[in-house]
């Protein structure tokens, strides 16, 4: 599990790689939330391009960050999910809440 956050003038991108499961989600949550609260970005894109596995723990992770971004007056997006991760996202109907590109 690796996370790399870049902030470009309020439009931030968090590139995740590895596997997202319940075990890893805790750590990811802490890191991303610390960034959101400190940097207060307008937009945060979570790039899933490097994620090779994700179960429903990833849904909770994305929903939770989306909520926090809203509370901070910003917006969350999801980028580049691989096909099998897209299926988990679709099952959760997450595209009704978060834009997926």
């Amino acid at each position: 599990m690796k996370i790399d956050i870049k902030n470009d003038n309020g439009a931030a991108i968090a590139r995740l790689s590895g596997e997202i499961d319940h075990h890893n989600a805790k750590e990811l949550r802490t890191e991303i939330d610390r960034f959101i609260v400190t940097a207060q970005p307008r937009e945060l894109a979570i790039d899933l391009g490097g994620i090779t596995f994700m179960d429903s723990s990833g849904i909770g992770l994305i929903m939770g960050r989306s909520k926090l971004m809203k509370e901070c007056g910003g917006r969350l997006e999801v980028l580049n999910p691989q096909p099998y991760i897209r299926r988990v996202l679709r099952l959760a109907g997450i595209e009704r809440i978060v834009k997926i590109r």
């Binding site: 499961d21 805790k26 596995f53 429903s56 723990s57 849904i59 099998y84």
Partner: protein
């Protein structure tokens, strides 16, 4: 029912073992030569069931989780995840999409929905204070060669 090959994997309810359980499934199923999508479906379903045992079943006390994987005739994969944790009062309700008793841990309530939609069959047996057993089956597509 004839069993072609069967493994059992027993682990304590530590979250670090969720990944190990998936790896066990992948490495065992190589011999059945599943498609990338089939393997990913099964890995995801196993991850959900094992995570549930860690997060819910053994919420208040630690214990062992037993994962059984069988290769059955006609390319059927049988999976069983068993815990001796707190059990489920109302299984029907628990299986409803979005139902969760752990929203504060950002559980989405979609674990059973994922298992249901990624596998062909799902059965949940649970007794309060005794534990939960989830069994799933999926038939792999016929071989290319």
């Amino acid at each position: 029912m004839e069993i072609l090959n069967e493994i059992k994997f027993i682990m304590p309810s530590l979250s670090v073992n969720e990944g190990a359980a998936r790896a066990v499934v992948s490495s065992f199923l190589i011999q059945a030569d599943p498609t990338v999508e089939e393997l990913s479906d099964i890995r995801t379903a196993v991850s959900e069931a094992v995570t549930n045992a860690v997060v819910h079943g053994y919420r208040h006390k630690k214990g062992n989780i037993e994962l059984t994987v069988r290769l059955l005739p006609d390319r059927v994969i049988y999976i069983r995840v068993k815990d001796k944790g707190c059990g489920i009062e109302n299984v029907e309700q628990a299986m409803e999409p979005l139902f969760t008793t752990a929203p504060e841990e950002e559980r989405s309530g979609l674990g059973f929905s994922v298992m249901q939609s990624f596998m062909d069959k799902l059965k949940v047996k649970s007794t309060p204070d005794k534990g939960t057993t989830v069994t799933m089956r999926k038939r792999l597509s016929a071989h290319g060669d």
